[in-house]
């Protein structure tokens, strides 16, 4: 090969190398540009996960109106518990997001509750709602939630229809009237077998509210059941909420003389009025079985010994602090922080917020659908909540399948558990002594 050919060959080879090198550079450049472009495209196509600084929970409670006493306690528990959770680090799966409670006054009125729910959703942009005590308020409020696709956790409304609406976004930690009404008759059956005293006649007292009528309707159905009921209904007294006088009603009861009276009165003043009026007409049945307004410490301080032997359907009793460590822990904490005793609605607010927190942690998101799924899959064991239940688990209607109540009797100024027997701390007094015998 001549020197010239070598030069040509070397030039050609060099050019080939140069081409190869250029090609390599081009290839690398194309890859880099593609990667950068892809990264930019991915960034714009996939929105960044927003950082959650706070979880807003709407609380619907009656802060004014006849049930203001209950709502006051619910608000206190909600705000104190939020602070406690935030002090413990907030919602950890959301990077320590703080819980913010936004409490709205329902005044115990359905139209106000509905408006407040709408306001919480549209203006306050809450991530979920808890409430609202009164069944008549919870229903329209839950409808707002359902329409907006925001989870609603019912803490203390018991009307059966609440879980029969086909709502997807509604969950109830509390029991229903169907469950609770049954508790009265089961306890009554047990009282008869335990003491040997038979019951033949029964009377109902119910206030004209969704709750009152709902409970009384369930009683009527259960009384027809030959296994549980079968008593002769000698009086059925229905009266407006917050009456100015119940003497006529008490005299009606006295004339009918039932062995047992089942009563439902929400406002405490109504419960106090009934107790004092029954005394003034000198009538007290073998068992006066009731709930709501009769089962609070302030009822006891108002009526004193006149309330003795009242049997109440309860969710909360100081006896729980003996049997459940968490009940004692929360009761002591609440008493110290709020300077007041717990009652069933503060207990239920605690239970419901525990459920909400658990769902938020598992969802790791405030996205409504993820939160709803997390709530639907709730399975909290009994030792994490105050009520003496197996736990909290929702069925496909949103009802907590483990919710139940127990019965207490006012004994020397304290509500002591009497049924079921496994949690009883005192024997029942049945039949109760008459006013003259006390």
């Amino acid at each position: 090969m001549s020197f010239g050919n070598v030069i040509v060959m070397r030039t050609i080879c060099t050019r080939k190398e140069a081409i190869t090198r250029i090609q390599g550079i081009i290839i690398v450049a194309v890859v880099v540009v593609a990667a950068v472009a892809g990264g930019i495209a991915w960034t714009f196509m996939t929105p960044p996960t927003p950082k959650v600084d706070e979880v807003r929970i709407g609380i619907l409670a009656p802060l004014t109106g006849a049930a203001a006493y209950f709502g006051d306690g619910m608000k206190a528990m909600a705000e104190l518990l939020a602070k406690k959770i935030n002090d413990e680090g907030g919602i950890k799966s959301l990077g320590g997001a703080k819980i913010k409670m936004i409490v709205a006054d329902t005044e115990g009125k359905p139209d106000v509750g509905k408006t407040q729910a709408r306001r919480l959703i549209t203006e306050n942009k809450v991530h979920l709602i808890i409430g609202a005590l009164h069944s008549g308020v919870t229903l329209p409020a839950a409808q707002e939630s359902e329409r907006s696709g925001i989870p609603f956790i019912c803490d203390a409304s018991s009307h059966v229809d609440l879980t029969r609406q086909g709502f997807k976004w509604f969950f109830r930690t509390w029991g229903s009237d169907a469950i609770f009404a049954r508790n009265y008759f089961e306890c009554l059956k047990w009282l008869q077998s335990k003491t040997g005293h038979k019951v033949k006649t029964i009377a109902f007292i119910s206030e004209e509210s969704l709750f009152g009528v709902g409970v009384a309707t369930e009683w009527e159905k259960l009384n027809i059941d030959p296994e549980l009921g079968g008593f002769k209904l000698v009086a059925y007294i229905r009266h407006p909420v917050s009456p100015a006088d119940v003497t006529s009603e008490a005299l009606t009861l006295k004339a009918a003389n039932p062995d047992v009276v089942l009563s439902v009165n929400t406002p405490m003043p109504d419960a106090i009025l009934w107790t004092k009026t029954l005394k003034s007409v000198d009538f007290f049945p073998k068992a006066f079985m009731t709930t709501a307004g009769f089962i609070f410490p302030e009822y006891v301080s108002s009526v004193g010994k006149d309330g003795e032997h009242i049997i109440g359907r309860e969710g909360w009793s100081i006896d729980l602090t003996v049997r459940k460590p968490i009940a004692k822990e929360i009761n002591d904490w609440f008493k110290k922080e709020a300077n007041r005793d717990m009652h069933v609605y503060t207990m239920q607010m605690h239970t419901t917020i525990v459920v909400a927190r658990d769902a938020l942690e598992r969802a790791a998101s405030v996205d409504p659908e993820k939160l709803r799924q997390a709530l639907a899959n709730t399975d909290i064991p009994g030792d994490k909540i105050i009520p003496p239940w197996k736990g909290v688990k929702f069925d496909n209607t949103g009802q907590n399948i483990y919710a139940n109540n127990f019965m207490v009797q006012l004994t020397k100024g304290v509500y002591r558990a009497i049924w079921p027997e496994e949690i009883a701390t005192v024997p029942p007094v049945f039949p109760a002594p008459t006013w003259k015998e006390r």
């Binding site: 006493y69 709502g71 006051d72 229905r238 407006p240 003043p269 003034s280 007409v281 301080s301 108002s302």
Partner: protein, 293 residues
């Protein structure tokens, strides 16, 4: 429904006792309307406030409600007087909706202040005679209610004599009839307005004192009584305090008898039916002067 003579007499007496309370509250409301020409929608809340005054005097000083009555009466009179001078006078003569807003707003403020200061917990005054009963021929009469009835009657008589026989009473009646003529006669109409408002509010003090001997107190006490109160003042004739007194007794009795003989749910329905009938047939009320168009 089982009804024998002892039960009927029992119901009749309870009806009159209940009616006496309605009469007291209504007399105050109609006195205010008759003179100041304002419907006081905060009237029930002053009743509630009076109840709290009674409770706290009992809780702190240990005074029985009947003994603290003069103190509570004076306190509520002063409160009513000042309320008129500061707030109500600004809406006298103004359109009705302005007056309504003022008194409704006052109602909300009073209720919420009570809740803020004293919470929504119900209160109950324990008296030594709370459980006393008089048995007369098979009829059991609760002593607190019997005592309330007599005190209510005594107060009504005193108020009647005051309005009929005293200079101020005459001035109140005259101002109610014709404020301009009263002014021309040398009556300080503004002062009479304040006096009337104070007197009307202090009727609540008497009612609340008597109620507190057997009825639980709460921030929403007024709501239990205001519907029937409005029915009573219409039945008695707006501005006619003696008409309100008699109408209160009548309606209290009708209410109690209805609840026993028919149904407790009709307790307020029957009075409302009577209310509508009176408006249709005799709008000036059973004891009011005929309205001239």
């Amino acid at each position: 429904m089982h009804l024998d003579l002892p039960i009927f007499l029992n119901l009749l007496m309870i009806g009159l006792f209940q009616g006496a309370i309605y009469s007291l509250i209504s007399m105050g409301l109609t006195l205010i309307f008759g003179t100041v020409k304002i419907v006081n929608f905060a009237h029930g809340d002053f009743l509630m406030l009076s109840g709290y005054f009674v409770f706290w005097i009992w809780a702190i000083l240990g005074l029985d409600p009947l003994i603290s009555l003069p103190i509570v009466f004076s306190a509520l009179f002063c409160l009513g007087y000042v309320t008129e001078r500061v707030l109500i006078k600004r809406v006298i003569g103004r359109p009705t909706h302005i007056q309504m807003l003022m008194t409704l707003g006052l109602s909300l403020v009073i209720q919420n202040l009570v809740i803020v200061f004293w919470k929504a917990d119900p209160r109950y005054v324990h008296t030594v005679y709370a459980d006393l009963r008089l048995e007369l021929g098979g009829v059991a009469i609760p002593f607190p209610r019997l005592l309330s009835f007599f005190v209510a009657m005594l107060f009504a008589l005193t108020l009647h004599l005051f309005l009929l026989k005293t200079t101020y009473g005459t001035a109140i009646r005259g101002t109610g009839q014709d404020p301009e003529a009263a002014h021309l006669m040398g009556i300080n109409v503004n002062k009479i307005y304040a006096l009337s408002f104070g007197l009307g509010i202090s009727c609540n003090a008497v009612a609340a004192t008597l109620l507190s001997t057997y009825f639980p107190l709460s921030p929403f006490l007024g709501a239990s009584f205001m519907v029937i109160t409005f029915i009573v003042i219409v039945l008695g004739g707006l501005g006619n305090y003696m008409g309100a007194f008699i109408a209160g007794l009548i309606l209290g009795t009708i209410e109690v008898l209805t609840a026993y003989m028919l149904s407790p749910l009709l307790r307020q329905t029957i009075p409302l039916v009577i209310f509508i009938l009176v408006l249709l047939l005799k709008p000036e009320g059973l004891f009011g002067r005929k309205l001239h168009r």
